[in-house]
Symmetry: C2
Subunit: 587 residues, 2 copies
């Protein structure tokens, strides 16, 4: 059916919405695809819902092609299965919880590992039933602390989630790889530029995972890549630990009075002035910075953690957080300092931290802090630092942690060269779950020898509503959206210009003929709107092919414009349907 | 893609599920279409989800055909718009309420009048923009007190809801009738037997409404129809009030000692024995029964109500409830009796009730209790009744109420003959909302004269997941489901029987060829399953055409069986695709 702009439920906006912080949000609201209903919660207008359904159709085709079967679970889920997997507690504030009229506990499903596991357990019992991959395209919920960026981080959103069930790890790898290949096809068809990177498993548990990140300057995720092909989400980057350093000749540690050195910078200046070194000047990399945080477990318990990183690096909260999941980070407050009197604020050092019986605080350091490295760091007394403090001789951390920021030029952990930093939007995530959920919920099948074995699972997600925004982030210009053909709300946008009735007659007929030829049409048939406004709207809305029926009609032509390149071609009205049809088919 | 039962995520069950109380629930679970996830909350297995999507496709086509435009709203909705319409309070316990991490109030949308009204207000401002009809197919929530009957009364369910917006009541009627016609097409295509009946508007507000009820012996809704074409939900039946009766000659009311008459029956026997009448015996219809209930308003206030009905009728709680919505009914407890000492339990009469200053209780009577009618009823003292109590002379009720049950043979209110009672399942409901929501939320547009007018709205619902069950209630036999062709999970079910490899080769090829010809195929290719089990499964699953590839193959034939009639036809393998194709097209 031709979508006529005279009746289409659409109003484009000239002004940017005040609450929009990314270009996809701005353009999708201005072009009339979505409207905000509440923070992080959006309504889909006709054009937007068409795009969403086009994306769903692509995903369905590719999931069906690998033999995954579509099912549909509720969004309102009972507490019990999530209790069994411990996620009822682990999710903390990040899920919406609901009590029914009988005070029974429910949650709005953020992901469905438990439910799928239980359903397969209900139906299947033998290795002969496997492999099995199930998927759904469904509305999901997450009570984000800071919903932002429009559809990129919403609280109600559409996801495709799928789950694979296999009798062995080898069989699982085939399911995992099938999904990986299907995802490559999906994201290719969505017209996204993306990168596949190693990732953390986070709240999902399991052993390994990979993310599909759409490259985007203002993406929320930072990732790294090396010339040799290493690619990882920055949270998953492993710091190569240097070899231990011999320290037999190292001088004894000595405490120095270091007045007026509140920052690392002032401390380094002080050292270079008072204790100049012959071979090289002191730098921030010679100092060891100890950062205190409180770690809150899902069960509500709170315990302190000290993190030691070289002074030339910052603690990257997202990296630190990723190591500690499902626990969350909180600030180390004045009250916390008061509760640990061994700590001297601003001068906290391994002298206290490295002795757990003194401070009572767990002390984890950056992997670069290996045995034999020498540091200038807090002396646990006001206005004093300790110099030549040797790791492994003068203090022993409780372990290492990936908390320091990753920098452009850092070496890739696999030796494949210096890292480059880039940003992206998480579009897909594939998880090797192992047996975590199958064990928690008792999903076992009989193997060939009649022995019960626990099933190996994978879970796989695509952000469907997020994809709408990611595509816009990837594909727009200063005038508006440029949809890749497979997801566009229509194949062509006919713009009828002028006051002449013959223009509208010709445009009407062309629209009808194109639809009959299987080309979907958005048709600007508004009579009281100026050509300029119509052209602006067509650029903003972003249908890939724009057909102008107007001035050229006198010569028996219409103008066909490519939204992306801006290229214009005059085509005879009589040839237009054939020309457009081949254009739509080709791309 | 051919669905192969060797890999299809499906297990049919021999036993009825213990919690199933209606045949559709039993069959849908046994045939592997749905599984229960929580009370009133179901998961859709592959075949079930296919049926659901087929129904959605039919609805989409018919809604698009009347120019309605598809949008999609969130299910998690902010409190404010529902506050403005007063439904935040009115819904009481029947909606799921959610607080986010910032303690902001949300609800899980049971219906979306408010959100659509606000969206149209956001985009539109002129009479030129109207008429407009918008729809969505969406997951909805209602915290039913007693979720039951599987998909027929669930707590999470799929609905198509649409909303029309018009500048005048005349224009509105065109939108309403277009929806009515579309619904007729939808329910015809779903293969449902149904009736269109007058209905109450309930929590929706507005002036008038009609229901589409699928006829079903164990439907939850009772409706009436007359030979002359009157049809109404029993809740909406209006009792014709008889003319007042002259009572100048009526004897004075007299109180009688009526020992041992705890029931109407014993009272009538007592009257016939002690006060026999010449013209006709006393019957229950001569007595007036006064029933006490407590009415709880959405704001929590609770007040008593006395309902007087002729003693030969019961108070129909659903009818009474429908008149009082959004208030709910509660039992009149011992404590309540204690709070109203003027009441004598078992002998409550209009002597007390008819005098509001005495009892403090509102007293509403059946419309048949008109001025001049004479009654035997409670005398407000233990063991006593009053005889010849005349309405309008001896007592004056506060008004009338439709609370008495409706009986087979009652006269239709429009004089179209005696009513017949039947039962049905509410499949669709179309509401004339008037300006209730537009006024509450300020939806106005400029009319032709530049004057602001409030928009007239309609709302229209189809129970999509409920339709799956209603179709099964309408269409099954003792062996299983019989799907109408347009909603069936597949066009044909190929059953390969026997051990011979040639059978499977032939069946494989037939399945492939049918799919290539646009016929969707469910194919029982299981090798280790007996023909009996396969036949039983095919009857249970209910695909309309079953093709048996087996014994007849020796003669070059397959057997084509019609699931509904049981009729079997042998068709040459070489003709099978053409034959089946015409069969599928025809119906």
């Amino acid at each position: 059916m031709v979508m006529r702009m005279s009746t289409l439920f659409l109003r484009t906006l000239r002004e940017d919405p005040v609450d929009a912080d990314v270009v996809s949000h701005t353009l999708l609201v201005r072009a009339g695809y979505i409207r905000r209903a509440a923070p992080g919660i959006y309504s889909w207008l006709p054009l937007g819902y068409q795009v969403l359904r086009n994306i769903e159709a692509i995903i369905r085709e590719e999931m069906d092609a690998i033999g995954a079967q579509e099912v549909h679970f509720p969004a309102l889920l009972p507490r019990e299965p999530y209790e069994a997997s411990n996620r009822w507690a682990e999710y903390g504030d990040s899920v919406f919880r609901v009590k029914d009229r009988k005070q029974a506990d429910y949650l709005l499903g953020p992901t469905h590992e438990e439910m799928f596991t239980l359903l397969v357990k209900d139906l299947y019992s033998s290795y002969k039933d496997l492999p099995l991959s199930l998927y759904q395209i469904q509305t999901k919920y997450r009570d984000e602390q800071r919903p932002r960026a429009g559809l990129l981080r919403g609280r109600e959103f559409v996801m495709k989630d799928s789950y694979s069930f296999d009798v062995s790890d080898e069989a699982f790898l085939r399911s995992y790889n099938a999904h990986r290949e299907a995802y490559i096809k999906i994201f290719d068809r969505l017209g996204l530029e993306y990168e596949i990177v190693a990732a953390m498993s986070g709240a999902m548990g399991g052993s390994a995972s990979e993310e599909f990140l759409a490259t985007a300057k203002n993406g929320e995720d930072t990732y790294v890549r090396s010339p040799g092909g290493y690619a990882a989400n920055v949270e998953a980057v492993v710091t190569p630990a240097p070899d231990p350093v011999p320290y037999d000749d190292a001088p004894a540690a000595h405490v120095e009075d270091t007045p007026d050195t509140p920052t690392i910078e002032t401390l380094v200046d002080f050292l270079n002035e008072r204790f100049p070194r012959d071979d090289r000047p002191w730098t921030a990399a010679d100092t060891l910075k100890n950062v205190l945080v409180m770690v809150r477990q899902p069960d509500g318990t709170r315990e302190p953690l000290a993190v030691g990183v070289p002074g030339d690096r910052e603690v990257d909260e997202k990296r630190l957080q990723a190591q500690l999941e499902p626990a969350t980070l909180e600030t180390f407050t004045d009250d916390d300092f008061a509760a640990y009197p061994a700590l001297t604020r601003g001068y906290v050092g391994p002298g206290v931290l490295g002795e757990k019986n003194v401070s009572g605080i767990r002390y984890l350091v950056d992997p670069r802090v290996v045995a034999g490295t020498r540091w200038v760091t807090g002396a646990d007394q006001h206005g004093h630092h300790v110099v030549d403090l040797v790791c492994g001789r003068d203090f022993t951390p409780d372990g290492t942690i990936e908390a320091a920021d990753v920098r452009e030029g850092d070496p890739a952990p696999d030796g494949s060269g210096p890292l480059e930093l880039a940003r992206g939007i998480e579009m897909g995530h594939i998880f090797q779950l192992g047996r975590k959920y199958a064990e928690a919920l008792g999903l076992q099948v009989l193997d060939e020898n009649g022995k019960l074995v626990t099933v190996t699972m994978g879970s796989y997600g695509v952000g469907v509503s997020r994809a709408v925004a990611a595509i816009v982030e990837n594909s727009h210009d200063e005038n508006g959206i440029i949809w890749p053909r497979e997801v566009a709300p229509a194949d062509v946008h006919i713009v009828a210009t002028g006051k002449d009735a013959s223009v509208f007659t010709a445009a009407d007929e062309l629209a009808r003929e194109l639809e009959a030829a299987g080309v979907s049409v958005l048709y600007d048939d508004r009579e009281s709107v100026s050509p300029g406004v119509k052209f602006n709207d067509s650029e903003l809305i972003g249908v890939p092919t724009i057909i102008v029926v107007g001035r050229a009609l006198a010569g028996g032509n219409v103008e066909v414009k490519d939204r992306r390149s801006g290229e214009r071609t005059e085509v005879a009205v009589s040839d237009a349907v054939g020309y457009i049809r081949s254009l739509v088919r080709r791309s």
